[in-house]
């Protein structure tokens, strides 16, 4: 096994000091806010207009619900976006996410079976790509969304390289 004594000392120090966290680029936040607006503004208008015509002005107040959702969702998306961060340590990848339901995941490089970079049509439009790590455990849910494609590819290559060096099978 190529992992020798130096990595042990480095891991001890790295587990003591706070790792260097990296956040997500702002593209993802823009995309999500745009989607929020694109869904909720027409909905507000449609509900307001339809109820105004069919049931009267009092009922049209229901249009305030999607509006309130929009106003509440705007900062919430920001908080959620800020909560996503990752750190490359000497021997494993750290992932932290979620505000109310917080989750922190550690995936040792040696356990990675497959590193995937995906990018949907909308994500491509905004210049974003997602990175997904698979281990032998299906429960491992390690995805980093909304990375810049160059960063996603750099991470993929680096993780694959590190994974090969520390490969451990099952």
């Amino acid at each position: 096994m190529p992992v020798g004594a130096p990595s042990v000392t480095s891991s001890v120090t790295s587990s003591e000091t706070e790792p260097a966290w990296t956040g997500l680029p702002p593209g993802l936040l823009k995309l999500r806010r745009l989607l929020l607006v694109l869904w909720l503004v027409p909905l507000t208008v449609a509900v307001g207009v339809l109820l105004q015509i069919l049931a009267g002005p009092a009922w049209a107040a229901f249009a305030l619900i999607p509006l309130a959702l929009l106003l509440w969702g705007w900062p919430m998306l920001g908080r959620n976006w800020r909560s996503w961060r990752y750190a490359e340590r000497a021997d494993d990848l750290l992932l932290s996410r979620g505000v109310l339901w917080h989750e922190e995941t550690i995936v040792p490089y040696g356990r990675m079976q497959l590193v995937e970079v995906t990018s949907g049509p909308l994500e491509r439009k905004f210049g974003l790509a997602s990175l997904q790590l698979h281990t032998a455990a299906a429960a491992t849910d390690a995805t980093i969304p909304g990375l810049a494609p160059a960063e996603a590819e750099r991470l993929r290559d680096r993780l694959t390289e590190l994974g090969e060096a520390r490969s451990a099978g099952l």
């Binding site: 042990v8 109310l100 989750e103 550690i106 281990t135 491992t140």
Partner: protein
């Protein structure tokens, strides 16, 4: 014929399955007919009455040869071969399928003998591989051939030289645990599920009878319920009868079954997690059930029932170097966890030893999961809003057998430390693990002493 196997062109000998195999295939059309007849009994009777002797004879004359031909052809086109590193299976009449199974990735080998196959003297060989959604099986082989093939596959998987692999033969097994039928029967009687299902099977149709007075509804509901109760009680007894756990250099041997005999072999180092379950009513006898999880395998019972000391002894052999932590080794959840999970918070506990991580839960049915550090694939800490308010968090350890071991309601600070610590332990723990080819390499060592 163009599909003739390339005999000995590359030194690989292709073989066919046992000649009784076509009979198994011939069952399919008859079963479909029977199923149709049972499904719609009135109409089947009417149709049968209308049939004359000639149509019957013609029908049989067409159906039986067609079924026989189908069975024969599938048998004819199924070949398998063992190479140095792979088991190759070629099969398929219209859609050809070739499976190459890498032997060093083999997780378990089962030889099973259904009741009818026992009369004929044939057996099925099933192989568990990581990532395959269904078991690859060779059905049927001659009884002796199946055993020899299992020995050969295991020998090759263990890393014996190819020329000696065939001669190594069956590794000697040493019995380490046997469940007496009496104990199994008592244990099943003391299990809640069969009783609950039996009660439901009596109560629900009875209630329906009073409510609807419709016999068919009662039968339609009652039969599946009784079936469920049966599989959970008598069915389990038949399946777990004569449960024997043995140990050999090839790994763990599990033999069981009253009617269908099953012989499982789990090579060393394949076990991902072990779970020790102690149902409420077994506690007085000090009995436990042990489950094990192997990647790519569905079978999970290691010991259906055994006294705790014996069970822990078996676990120590399944996970070499791992001792099941004693109750005193566990650290309990903090007291404020009672606001998150009332009563049951008392049962939560974790223990970290040099080689394994253990978590327990369950107040009535106690449950203890042990996972060796080397088998942990990823570690997670989750915390919901209510848990954050009480400063507790849950720790999850994901393993390759698609099982997650969860330690609930740890102090948040402690959970963070466990998370970082576990990542380091899991990484370093792998270094002492045995190689995939367990008889090869520098760490060649004799199996456990007697």
């Amino acid at each position: 014929m163009s599909q003739e196997p390339p005999e000995d062109t590359t030194g690989i000998r292709e073989r066919r399955l046992h000649p009784v195999t076509p009979l198994r295939r011939a069952w399919a059309p008859i079963a479909i007919l029977l199923g149709w007849a049972v499904h719609d009994m009135d109409q089947a009777q009417r149709q049968l009455a209308q049939l004359t002797a000639t149509t019957l004879a013609i029908g049989l004359g067409v159906l039986v040869p067609a079924a026989a031909l189908y069975g024969f052809l599938t048998w004819w086109f199924t070949h398998f071969a063992v190479t140095d590193t792979e088991l190759r299976i070629r099969t398929g009449l219209l859609f050809r399928r070739t499976a190459h199974i890498r032997l060093e990735r083999l997780q378990a080998v089962d030889v099973t003998q259904p009741l009818l196959a026992r009369f004929v003297g044939v057996a099925k060989l099933k192989l568990d591989v990581v990532g395959a959604d269904k078991k690859d099986e060779l059905a049927y082989l001659g009884e002796k051939e199946a055993r020899d093939l299992r020995a050969e596959l295991l020998a090759r998987a263990a890393g014996f030289a190819p020329e000696s692999a065939r001669e190594v033969g069956e590794a000697p097994a040493q019995q380490i645990l046997h469940t007496p039928p009496r104990m199994l029967a008592v244990a099943l009687l003391l299990t809640g599920t069969p009783w609950a299902m039996l009660l439901a099977a009596v109560a629900v149709p009875g209630f329906l009878w009073f409510a609807t007075h419709n016999l068919w509804t009662v039968i339609a509901v009652g039969v599946p319920l009784f079936g469920g109760a049966f599989t959970n009680s008598a069915g389990r007894f038949i399946k777990e009868y004569d449960w024997t756990v043995g140990e050999s250099p090839d790994g763990l041997r599990i033999d069981h079954g009253l009617l269908d005999r099953v012989h499982e072999t789990v090579p060393p180092g394949r076990v991902q997690t072990v779970r020790i379950v102690e149902p409420l009513l077994w506690r007085r006898h000090g009995w436990v059930r042990v489950e094990l999880h192997v990647a790519g395998s569905a079978n999970s019972v290691l010991v259906p029932v055994a006294p705790r000391e014996h069970a822990e002894d078996v676990v120590a052999r399944v996970l070499p170097g791992v001792a099941v932590p004693k109750p005193a080794d566990f650290t309990a959840a903090p007291r404020r966890a009672r606001w998150c999970v009332p009563f049951w918070w008392r049962a939560y506990g974790v223990a970290v030893t040099e080689t394994a991580f253990a978590a327990r839960h369950g107040l009535l049915q106690r449950c203890l999961s042990v996972v060796p550090h080397a088998k942990v694939q990823s570690v997670r800490v989750t915390q919901g809003p209510w848990e954050r308010f009480w400063r507790v968090a849950d720790l999850h350890l994901d393993t390759g057998a698609n099982k997650t071991v969860t330690a609930r309601l740890r102090d948040a600070q402690e959970a963070a430390e466990l998370l970082r610590g576990q990542a380091d332990r899991s990484r370093t723990g792998r270094r002492d693990a045995r190689p995939d080819r367990w008889m090869a390499g520098p760490r060649q060592k004799a199996p456990h002493g007697e």
